[in-house]
């Protein structure tokens, strides 16, 4: 029976053996479900203001209370998950795409290594959040530009990891073998190198996903990120922070949403790394 099992479920089953990772995956699944089915799970309009209902504590009517404009916090967190997750997912996707490309080229072609990596070094000399702020300032504050800025910030990080792994792979016997067989370089990269980079790339996806959620929140908090009228977990805290002393929940709950999601992502990333590391080490 195990023989017929396709590979992915097997890896997944092994991943789920770690109970903490299993819980983290469940949390992520729940968050993703809530985000996708936001109108189903939170019937209240996230932008519906009710002045008489402002800063209400959590109750049966408002599960997580209301904010300074009387908007339902639960509805805002659930709907905000859509934006926060979408921004982070696109960032992770973009950074991994460009970072993998750069790292692969730098690691495989000796001539291009130094030029690419010096630019990567230079970009990593800027603190993440500062570079993101500067880029958003230059591009203009919008949803798309926040994603673009964060992609530029995290691409060098991926490039470094992918390059390091490519350098190791390049020297392995099987690559030498396919080279000796006269396989085209593009095919070697696509068919033989890239599949072996999937584990470090997967780990990077989960970590950058988590960092991007935090970074977006930080940018929005500083007022240089997503426009404040769009409910993300970051803009929610940013908009309500001065009411924290009277109504702690306006700051507490969006923060908990951020922490829970980022923590789960990193736990899963760590689990994937633990799962795949022995193989990687053997290869080295």
């Amino acid at each position: 029976m195990t023989l017929r099992m396709p590979r992915l479920p097997l890896a997944l089953r092994r991943l789920l053996r770690d109970r903490i990772v299993a819980v983290a995956l469940l949390v992520l699944l729940a968050v993703a479900l809530l985000a996708i089915g936001a109108p189903l799970f939170a019937s209240a309009d996230p932008n519906d203001t009710a002045v008489l209902e402002r800063l209400r504590p959590p109750s049966a009517e408002h599960l997580l209370g209301t904010d300074e404009l009387g908007r339902d916090l639960y509805a805002r967190i659930v709907h905000g998950a859509r934006y926060s997750l979408a921004i982070a997912a696109l960032t992770a996707l973009g950074a991994v795409l460009f970072g993998t490309l750069l790292g692969l080229v730098a690691g495989f072609f000796r001539r291009l290594d130094a030029p690419i990596m010096r630019v990567v070094d230079a970009m990593m000399a800027f603190p993440d959040i500062l570079l993101a702020i500067a880029l958003v300032a230059i591009l203009g504050a919008s949803l798309g530009n926040v994603v673009l800025a964060l992609v530029l910030v995290y691409t060098p990080r991926v490039a470094r990891v992918v390059r390091a792994s490519t350098l190791v792979l390049r020297e392995l016997l099987f690559i030498e073998a396919v080279r000796a067989l006269g396989v085209r370089t593009s095919r070697i990269l696509w068919r033989h190198v890239l599949p072996n980079l999937m584990s470090p790339i997967l780990v990077q996806v989960s970590f950058i996903f988590a960092y991007a959620i935090l970074a977006e929140a930080g940018l929005s908090f500083l007022g240089v990120g997503v426009p404040p009228e769009i409910p993300t977990w970051g803009t929610m805290v940013a908009g309500s922070q001065q009411y924290a002393d009277r109504a702690f929940w306006v700051v507490l709950f969006p923060g908990v949403a951020i922490i829970l999601t980022a923590l789960s992502l990193q736990l899963v990333g760590d689990g994937v790394r633990d799962l795949l590391d022995p193989k990687l080490k053997k290869a080295v």
Partner: protein, 313 residues
Amino acid sequence: MLRFLASRLAGMLVVLAIVAVLVFVLTRAASGDPIAVLLGDQATAADIARVRVEYGLDKPLPVQFGYWLREVLQGNLGQSIFLQRPVTQALWERAEPTTLLSLMAVAIAALIGLPCGIASAVFRGRWIDSLFTGLAMLGASVPSFWLGLVLIQIFAVSLGWFPVSGYGAPDAPLAERLHALMLPAAVLGLLNSALIIRFTRASMLDVLGEDYVRTARSKGLGEGRVVLKHALRNALVPIVTVLGLTAALMIGGAVVTETVFGLPGVGSLVVNAVLRRDYPVIQGALLVIAAIYVLINFAIDLLYAVVDPRVKV
């Protein structure tokens, strides 16, 4: 040794040059026509053209970059549009809180991170390891502004132990300044200790697996002595590197925390410049912050070669 030094120096200069190009291109792409901004609405097209030639802005971009770089190398980062003073002066005025903050935060991160990381490595796979690595992961998941707001609520608003925000009066004594920096330093220290825990653990595990550690054990040394005297000494080299780079990254990277606590630091200087479109300040601050990081990185590289004979010279 000399060849090693020369190649590292050359590498660093190349990175610095790329940093300068990046900063120049980025801010030039953003600021639009600086002359139109400078002269205001009443300027005619002829005025603008004349001043443009005066400032060399009619020249091709690489030539302009050359002009700019020459000024930068002479220590001139230009004038802030809003602060009515040179950018270097504005940066210098903001340097003290940021420097003190990053030193305090790194000290806190090390005080938490080193013992926890060592314990994690020594008791690998036991509950204490799970606890500390779990805490490290949690620390990497908490937004700094959120932790800042929570700590302010508890320790400043409710308990009144620390000021809610600010950096004391302009002529306040150092003790008062340090007191005001306690909470923000705690935020940064706690969050950064996550990285230090993980790094210390990994570094210690590496060293604990080495032959000389086994030798030390087999000659009958106590475990505490083996861990603290033999293993830790070697494990510390990379850890100190990370501590140094963490401190460097906090210059400018602590911008969110500085903003939460209303500290007049380098980070909040940049944010305010961004909000006011004060491009000379953005340009100068980015350049200086990245250059400091590159220089510290370079210094650590050299120290490595001095301290660790295994580094190929």
